[in-house]
């Protein structure tokens, strides 16, 4: 890898990254997988670094995954949630960030309800900023862990056919997956009711498949998006029951697939809505391996942004015997 293949200061999304940079993250994640399998799950790579996890939106999986990644790299971490912080007193995002930076932090992991919030922050502070999900824009580490999981199972991403099924309109996971997968040579289709597909999505290099049966015939893997329950009251779909009937991933539907389909889901799942339990818990589901890979991918991102050199054995060597 050349020096130019570093990641830059921030990870705001996969759109700005090159294929080489994405591959660098995935490759760097490989050795970190093993760290989490050790008795002592800790390496000193980020010792002395201070990281703030700034979560303006509720999150369980992503926040805990980042926190484990940080702790397993020996960073010092602080969690800030919007509720109970000065944000609920009306402090602006930029003021919150500048105050944190005044305490001499090294990195900020931000989850925010507004698209562009991570980039907004990254443009205004010197610390590294990692986007843990901004509005409907991007959720790059989720897409990276999806891609790592796909690569684990298929041994490659080039030429794979991935269908993203569900509420693409409101999904940052979908956008990051589209950028990442297409840059690495996979074919991507989106599938869902037209009321939940953004206009012009084809211009992002994806195929639109109107029926879930078509997606099942076409794809090697399905990435099933969470259907936010409030979409029903907002008039995007008539009912959850009907959504399941027309777009739900059921074992009945999967039986007609020409090959075994790998099933991904970013969580949290609505069982019986976008995905049936027997599929989610079935033999082709990689939903839990995705979560495991999430820690490794986030360790890789943190390590690279902190200036770590890819492929350095020091990254995964423990400090203590």
């Amino acid at each position: 890898m050349t020096a130019a293949a570093g990641l830059g200061k921030d990870l705001t999304g996969l759109e700005p990254l090159s294929a080489d940079q994405i591959r660098l993250i995935l490759d760097t994640a490989e050795p970190f997988k093993e760290v989490s399998e050790r008795q002592i799950k800790k390496v000193p790579a980020l010792r002395g670094k201070t990281i703030v996890n700034l979560f303006f939106e509720a999150s369980t999986r992503t926040r805990i995954s980042f926190e484990f990644a940080e702790k397993r790299l020996s960073a010092d971490t602080v969690n800030v949630a919007a509720v109970g912080s000065s944000v609920s007193k009306g402090e602006t995002l930029v003021d919150t960030a500048r105050n944190l930076e005044a305490m001499r932090i090294d990195m900020v992991v931000i989850r925010h309800g507004s698209s562009g919030a991570a980039r907004f922050l990254g443009d205004r502070i010197n610390s590294n900023v990692i986007n843990a999900g901004d509005g409907k824009h991007e959720h790059p580490t989720q897409a990276l862990l999806d891609m790592l999981t796909l690569r684990d199972r298929f041994g490659r991403l080039e030429g794979l056919k991935i269908a993203i099924v569900g509420d693409v309109l409101h999904s940052r996971v979908a956008r990051s997956n589209i950028w990442g997968l297409t840059k690495l040579g996979a074919e991507v289709a989106v599938c869902g009711p037209y009321s939940l597909l953004p206009r012009g999505i084809e211009e992002m290099g994806v195929t639109v498949l109107p029926r879930v049966e078509d997606a099942i015939q076409w794809a090697d893997a399905l990435n099933v998006l969470r259907l936010q329950l409030e979409r029903m009251t907002a008039g995007f779909i008539p009912s959850l029951r009907e959504y399941n009937r027309v777009f739900g991933i059921t074992s009945e539907r999967l039986k007609r697939a020409p090959r075994d389909l790998l099933i991904l889901h970013p969580g949290p799942m609505n069982r019986g809505v976008e995905i049936d339990s027997d599929v989610a818990d079935g033999e082709h589901s990689v939903i839990l391996p995705q979560v495991t890979n999430g820690v490794a991918v986030r360790m890789a991102v943190l390590y690279l942004l902190a200036g770590g050199r890819p492929g350095s054995p020091a990254a995964v060597q423990g400090a203590e015997p």
Partner: protein
């Protein structure tokens, strides 16, 4: 007041079909004479206008002056100064102030603050609905009596078709237009930018062109029903242009305006979550921008208006979906029109003066917009060749929110005269 003789400029006055090198004599607040070799009255101030365009002052049909209520963003005095610096001799002030301009007290206040400022003329626009919210009306006769020249709920559409219908009927009594901000709120609610590929990429909620076009269509239909004069504010889509063109072919009393940002920029300017490119209606696609240009050329859109909307720096220094809509425009409008429309061969200079002065005066029934003998001595001297770079720090406006900072433009007002007095001179 000394008479002013503007000597040797290129006089462009579309109202009288004039485009020639001539002198202009201003006397007692009126245009006294236009022609070659006008004698100099004894006490006249003689100014060399050679190399300059001499035109009737620009008139902005759509300005937000923020006073009363948000004087930290703009006052009538700073807005009127920004106006004359941009070559405008009159601006129409939208009523979405605090309190709303929905009674003769506020109308009178705007008029008296403008007189005190003594720069551009300021014509208040009254609200269509009380507080711009409820479906009951202000006393229109009192609004007009106090100086209102039109009614509008700008910032919001007139919400119901019934209210729009009756407003058009009632405004007919006074011969004033109802200026509508066309936006179907059920389609646009929560939208942050134009619905298209850029908004899909950025993950923002889009405002479809249909949101504007549905209300444009409604207003045209209601104009036909009532015979009332509907004025369509800040048109931004190619579909709106088509609807207006058809309405005009039918001879309906429909007029329309477009803003410099809509004939200059596209939704691509929102890339990087640039909040200074966030406005409502939003920046649209290249095909929309072309349609707006063509509509300004062929007269489907009558006037160029700024939608000057001051906002505080902090308010724009926010997450994109949290930032307010709008940009200021008084000090850049002429340069953009000159660079983008005249420079690209869309309009002649005569056509530009028509869209920025003659037509605005005509469709809102305002004084000015003409250099005929007896017209108000509201005149602008323009240097259409002046090249300059937009520097928001130099604005006279109290706000700085513009997407045009750093842009190289051509054309500038060098002197502005209102009521026969020089109120602005470029240093």
């Amino acid at each position: 007041m000394r008479p002013i003789l503007l000597r040797g400029g290129r006089v462009i006055d579309p109202a009288s079909g004039r485009d020639e090198i001539a002198d202009v004599l201003l006397l007692a607040g009126k245009v006294e004479a236009v022609g070659q070799g006008i004698g100099t009255p004894d006490d006249a101030e003689v100014m060399d206008a050679s190399g300059r365009i001499v035109a009737p002052g620009f008139i902005d049909l759509h300005t937000h002056l923020r006073e009363p209520g948000q004087e930290d963003l703009e006052t009538i005095a700073t807005g009127a100064l920004a106006a004359v610096a941009g070559g405008f001799t009159a601006v129409c002030a939208m009523p979405n102030t605090d309190p709303v301009c929905d009674n003769q007290g506020v109308v009178g206040f705007v008029v008296s603050q403008a007189q005190r400022a003594g720069k551009a003329r300021v014509y208040p626009i009254g609200a269509v609905s009380l507080g711009q919210r409820v479906s009951s009306w202000p006393n229109s006769a009192e609004l007009v009596g106090a100086g209102a020249v039109a009614v509008s709920d700008d910032g919001h559409p007139v919400p119901s078709s019934h209210l729009m219908r009756t407003a058009l009927e009632y405004a007919n009594v006074f011969g004033i237009p109802v200026a509508d901000h066309c936006e179907d709120m059920s389609l646009a609610e929560g939208g942050a930018m134009h619905e298209g590929i850029v908004c899909t990429r950025l993950g923002l909620k889009g405002i479809p062109s249909a949101a504007e076009e549905i209300i444009v269509a409604r207003d045209i239909i209601l104009s036909e029903l009532t015979g009332g004069h509907v004025h369509l504010c800040h048109m931004s889509t190619r579909g709106s242009v088509e609807l207006i063109r058809r309405a005009k072919d039918k001879g309906l009393k429909v007029t329309a305006e477009a803003c410099p940002h809509h004939f200059t920029l596209t939704h691509e300017s929102c890339e990087g979550y640039n909040t200074n490119a966030k406005m409502n209606p939003p920046l649209r696609e290249a095909a929309d921008r072309e349609a707006i240009r063509e509509a300004l050329r062929d007269g489907t859109i009558d006037a160029i208006a700024t939608d000057h909307a001051p906002h505080h720096y902090d308010a724009k220094e926010r997450e994109f979906d949290q930032a307010p809509n709008g940009i200021i425009g008084l000090e850049t409008a002429f340069a953009l029109a000159n660079s983008e429309l005249v420079g690209a061969g869309v309009l002649t200079l005569t056509g530009l003066v028509e869209r920025m002065s003659t037509m605005p005066a005509r469709i809102f029934h305002l004084p000015g917009g003409s250099l005929a003998k007896g017209a108000p001595a509201d005149v602008v001297l323009l240097d259409p060749e002046a090249e300059w770079t937009v520097n928001p720090a130099e604005f006279r406006s109290r706000s700085r929110n513009t997407p045009f900072g750093g842009r190289s433009v051509r054309g500038r007002a060098v002197m502005t005269i209102v009521r026969g007095q020089v109120v602005f001179q470029l240093s």
